[in-house]
Amino acid sequence: MKTVRIDAKGMHYTPLNQKIRAAVADGAEEIILDNVLGQRFIGDGLRGNVRIVINGVPGGDLGMFMSGPTCIINGNAEHAPGNTMDSGMLVIHGSAGDAAAHSMRGGKVFIKCNIGYRGGIHMKQYDVEARPVLVVGGTAHSFLGEYMAGGLVLVLGIGKDKAMTDRGIGSGIHGGEIIIRGEVDDYLLGIGAKKFKFTESDLERIAPIIKSFCEHFGYDPAKFLDTSYTKIGPASSRPFASKYVWE
């Protein structure tokens, strides 16, 4: 495997991304970024099958518009990792800020610990291949999966009494599904969101995702492979249909 190592210490994000692009164009299969500290837009609009290992804490919009690469982040991530991402993968060995996986259309974002507000907001899907997945090991703040139009948000609540304690889950959701470990109190649901029974066939469907998540972070998947989840989906695919009348 052709590996390129870049020391990002004190480097602005534009030259850093230029170096990454040059390495990809040069046929690098793995790029290791050391001493990353707050550089935004890493992998922004990047194409290809490259694997990028980020040692440190990347800044906002990590992997935005990204199409293909896999990023392994050995640290936390900032605002909106996976923003409007098309395909590829982000594996974050830590927590992430607000608007994680915002408007994501495909690929996977795995976050070991917690995320901020508006996680998975306006995630959407198109076709079967372009189905985005956001998995959060810990918990998420309010407005999780708000305006969601497709894809899957999974919250495992590892190390928490309750996986979700913040309100506004799935307000305005009109497609896709939010699956949360354990019970979810009714008052946490946003307008337009509805609870559904999590079935064996649901488990069968998401089991490969759970296994993959556990493999990345060294958890035993057996602990999560049961039907003790709550599934939240849209009460209607036309949440605003009854709000308007024509002139």
Binding site: R40, G45, R47, H122, E146, H174, W246
Partner: protein
């Protein structure tokens, strides 16, 4: 039904002496006003929207259409419209939606601004003889230029220039999405802007494959729903525009009903077939001016700083400081959309009551940017109710670099401003995805008409400039001395920084 029905809005009648019974009215009306019973064409006026398709297609001019054939008791406060809206809401309990731009009879500031011309002391310029420079560059301009001498004695520019769009005329076509309007409308406009050396916006509907040949003339939009946005789309566009707000409905999002999401629309927006396409009110990754900077830079970074990025906002009360913030945010142009801006559908209360006129917005934004010494950092594109070359010239004299037209381009393709865009039944083949209706708009013919409109306005602008003794668009820009106010109050003249006619 204690409310009964409200009177029909239009009365359609056929002059039976003229009618030759060809049935073109029946064929052309997509709203079902006409039908044949036996040997007679019957008319159901209640279904009429005054799109005038039947009138335009009748070979004998046999059709007459009257607006508001029934009078209510007249009342200055309780107008017919007010009464009918109340009846509608008493029935439904819902928000009233409407199409096209602000329909209230409010004074138009453009009509109270008058242009100047030369007499005697400085001669006017004849555009037939003298070159008129209309070329406009949209984007950041350097505050100073640095040169260096090469060994061979040549002079080379040392300053790195930011990417700009080069327009042959300061008229662009604004963002109307594929989905809201048909592919043939987009094709017509794309060919027209290519021919006339200008640009058009995609709207938030993605870029259809059929438009790829015109991609270097397209400004791709990134709005809160991020529909159709991926790296491929961003790279194809000549420029990228972030839509924060829209003049027809400032502060709220957009909503394309599932009925309009057919296979082509679904593929282009990258959303499932038949699902509602909902754009949230804010961008949920922008909750502050710092976040806007981040989105702008993320778009530039994704496209390797090769493309100008515009930010479109609705003209609202604090438009000037907002634009000043945008000027410092790495954006290359700010688009200001006035309260008369059009739309496929907007809540009527927003369309008619929220926002401010584009004329005052241009003046106050230009003023603020000049005061702060950042006018060169950002171009101003004005939109929302630009109807003619006079509006265009006045916009530039108030301080705009260029304008976006919307409704005017639609009218050039056949639109009669009936305002029923949301029904997917547009008989002119514009605001519809129905193949049999869309086929009525021939892209070649449509392109010819839209290009003609742009050419006509460009000629008129040259004449207006020549008459004023100006031979370059740069000398007209922000040149408020060439405007005078007529029947405008002192406060308005002060905001516009324009003198009273006679002064």
């Amino acid at each position: 039904m204690t409310l009964g029905s409200v009177p029909p809005k239009f009365k359609v009648s056929i002059d039976r002496d003229e009618c030759m019974d060809c049935g073109r009215c029946i064929e052309n009306c997509s709203y079902g006003v006409y039908r044949r019973e036996g040997d007679r064409i019957l008319v159901e006026s209640r279904k009429c929207t005054a799109c005038l398709r039947c009138v335009a297609m009748c070979p004998r001019d046999a059709i007459t259409l009257t607006e508001k054939p029934i009078d209510y008791r007249s009342h200055p406060l309780w107008t017919r419209e007010v009464r009918e809206d109340i009846i509608n809401q008493a029935r439904s309990g819902k928000i009233i939606l409407s199409g096209m731009g602000n329909a209230r009879d409010l004074p138009v500031i453009y009509d109270r601004l008058l242009l100047d011309a030369c007499q005697v002391t400085n001669p006017s310029i004849d555009p037939l003889r003298e070159p008129m420079e209309l070329r406009t560059y949209i984007g950041k301009k350097p505050s100073k230029l640095k040169f260096k001498k090469t060994e061979s004695g040549d002079v080379e520019l040392e300053t790195k220039l930011a990417p700009n769009l080069k327009l042959d005329t300061p008229i662009m076509i604004g963002h109307m999405s594929f989905g809201a309007i048909s592919l043939n409308s987009h094709l017509s406009m794309a060919r027209a802007v290519k021919e006339t050396g200008t640009f058009m916006g995609t709207g938030e509907g993605g870029l259809h494959k059929a438009l790829y040949p015109y991609q270097d003339r397209m400004i791709v939009q990134v709005a809160s729903g991020r529909f159709g946005v991926n790296i491929d789309y961003l790279e194809r566009g000549a420029a990228i525009e972030i839509k924060i707000g829209q003049g027809a409905k400032p502060g709220i999002g957009g909503h394309l009903p599932g009925e309009k999401v057919n296979e082509e629309v679904s593929r282009t927006r990258m959303i499932p077939l038949g699902s509602d396409a909902i754009s949230p009110a804010p961008h949920h990754d922008i909750y502050s001016i710092e976040d806007l900077v981040q989105l702008i830079r993320s778009l530039k970074e994704a496209t390797e700083w090769k493309k100008p990025v515009f930010v479109k906002i609705a003209a609202v009360h604090n438009v000037a400081p907002i634009a000043a913030g945008i000027a410092r945010s790495s954006a290359d142009a700010v688009v200001i959309d006035g309260f008369r801006g059009g739309t496929g559908a907007a809540p009527k209360v927003f369309r008619d009551h929220v926002g401010i006129p584009i004329e005052v917005a241009i003046a106050s934004v230009d003023q603020k940017l000049r005061e702060q010494g950042v006018r060169n950092e950002i171009s101003i594109i004005a939109s929302g109710g630009i109807r003619s070359s006079a509006d265009l010239a006045k916009s530039i004299a108030l301080g705009a670099d260029a304008v976006y037209i919307g409704t005017a381009a639609l009218v050039a393709m056949g639109c009669r401003v009936c305002g029923n865009c949301y029904r997917n039944l547009c008989p002119w083949g514009i605001a519809t995805q129905e193949p049999h209706l869309m086929d009525r708009l021939d892209p070649e013919r449509g392109a010819f008409q839209v290009a003609n409109l742009i050419k006509g306005w460009t000629l008129e602008l040259s004449e207006l400039m020549g008459a004023a003794g100006i031979n370059s668009i740069e000398s007209l820009r922000g040149n408020r001395d060439r405007l005078r106010g007529y029947m405008l109050d002192e406060g308005m003249l002060k905001i516009l920084d324009v003198l009273q006619a006679g002064a």
